[in-house]
Assembly symmetry: D2
Homo-oligomer: 202 residues x 4
């Protein structure tokens, strides 16, 4: 069991992916023990750590960030979580290169992430997933459009909204203020058979 | 990686817990490989299978249902998912007895689930979680009230709303109809130190 | 056309009813020019002013508040809105007495507002509406239960959620933080035929 | 008081604007007795009738639809509502021409409604509002962009979500299925001073 209270003790640099979104990414793609996944635009490392907690000791998370200071932040947070062994940190640009192959999942969380889709497609195993996390609708559309051109299947784009229910002796009600939007999650899938991947449009 | 398309092929008897809710339960409690968890009111077995996909080969899911026909349905679905080894099925009433101890998580999904809280408390390890899934607000309130009396900490009660974003060349928009409520998820935690568990109210 | 920017210039004492909720109250009950409506628990007078803008010169809004300081605040705001002629202010307790009769609408916004339902029922014309505004679910339930016992029909209870869409050249998305709950609106109706009003339960 | 149950008895042709959206349009623009408003793309006439109920006998609603069959549908529904005197029906194309001037509000509900914005701007009084109703995000963006170029102020774009709360003796909860999206409402305003209207961008 991963000690979830640890998330609050981690250092935050760039915007983090919240549990509601991290868990949607993992649930819709079926992340399981032993998986090899890549988290690009790792930011503060929250999703990296969440994924590391799921893939277990036999799994691996490759965490890319283009900025050295962010990668250093991820490193510290990953160590605090006790996942140094199962997380491999890389300062690198996934638009240029993804070194891994036969991955189960590639998550892309950065501006213009559609530019990483060709490398993501090549790095995934057949049947593997590429997920995108985007605040704006236009980004989702571009991501899906480019993904379909490359041969990905578009499984779904969605947002998740969490509403806390305040439970008090004198009355129950939803919380009055809070987050009203974080980002859209898009789930693309590399077809199981390689043949499908060539020249497939929508 | 768990083949998520399998969920659509499973047989459905009683109401299933959707991925959006199953993933909230697991993410907020930190379910990880090797965990031993209990799913009471297993119904059609969707949450059982989801949890089984997360705890891995070294983990264990104990799935209770009071009705033999539902337990049989769970058994078939669990076999189809290939998790017969890591899921132990029990036809039994958790209001009466929970045989396991030192569990990481107990999920309760049945009418009057607060009646199972004493047994759940006893069956959990210190620091373990008990989650409740309830359609109605009154059920949440009773569950939280009884849980606090028993010494649980109330972490949060919440609902999750998923909004699909339709992405089409001619325009993007949220889907026009769909689910607007499933159930509230309540997260209770057994305190880490046994001392806290005695005589603790809100 | 009522100058809606004026709402921002009004003084705020107690919690105000926002336009999203005020407009739901008026739309579901059909408030129109010439109507005679009562706003009890007028608070800062926002709903009073909104209703005054709809009932026009021939209509009337009776604004009750039990606290003299709140009634004074309403008076100042109503004057600023230019509606002194069509709003009649009363420092009074609607649990004790409602002086008006044959009203089209009575809105109740106060703790234990179900206690005002008998007076509201008597004050309404046949076919008139009584609306309640409640933050907590339990309040809604009590209000509906008492209303049904008195012979009201329960039209609907609902909440309204407004999501701003940020429209920017670089991207569109929902606003990231904001209000996530204000209050539930319950619409009760006094039956058109007096006969129905006697001894009617759900 | 407008008999709101009448909406259910009206004939429906094209998609109607629901009360939740109609009331948002009127509340954010301050529609009041005596106003002169235009509803273009009147469709089945629901918004036309709603606006007619608000502007009263001294007000006027000009309802445009380009299709004769839709205009005929509006005519029948308007008659059923008893508003034949205050609604003027026109079969016409607002992209080509709007005959009225000094209007308080122009609502546009049709594909490519941005093409009607120049005529709407000319037809509005200073300080008047132009509202757009669009299912897709891209439409909102285009509408706002063109509106700003023409000299409109962009007040807000938003969507409204209504959640019914089911209130039953055995438990309260939100309804389980329903509408999850209708359309975005965009509120543009013609500046009060004519000077502002020339050559103003964002």
């Amino acid at each position: 069991m991963f000690p979830v209270t640890l998330y609050k003790k981690l250092k935050r640099g760039p915007q983090v992916i919240l549990l509601k979104d991290a868990s949607t990414i993992s649930a819709y793609t079926g992340v399981a023990p032993g998986d090899r996944v890549l988290d690009a635009g790792a930011g503060s490392g929250f999703l990296t750590i969440y994924l590391a907690s799921l893939v277990g000791k036999e799994g691996k998370v490759y965490a890319y960030d283009i900025r050295e200071d962010f990668a250093e932040l991820v490193r510290k947070n990953v160590e605090k979580a006790g996942f140094a062994d199962r997380v491999e940190l890389k300062v690198g640009d996934v638009f240029e290169k993804i070194e891994e192959t036969e991955l189960d999942l590639v998550n892309l969380d950065m501006a213009c992430s559609e530019k990483a889709l060709p490398n993501a497609f090549a790095a995934l195993r057949a049947g593997g997933y590429c997920t995108g996390y985007h605040p704006n609708v236009e980004q989702v559309k571009t991501f899906v459009t480019v993904g379909l051109e490359l041969g990905f299947d578009h499984i779904i784009s969605l947002e998740t909204i969490e509403r806390e229910l305040l439970v008090r002796p004198h009355g129950c009600r939803p919380a009055t203020t809070g987050l009203t939007h974080t980002g859209y999650i898009t789930i693309l899938r590399k077809p199981k058979e390689a043949a499908k991947a060539e020249g497939k449009g929508q």
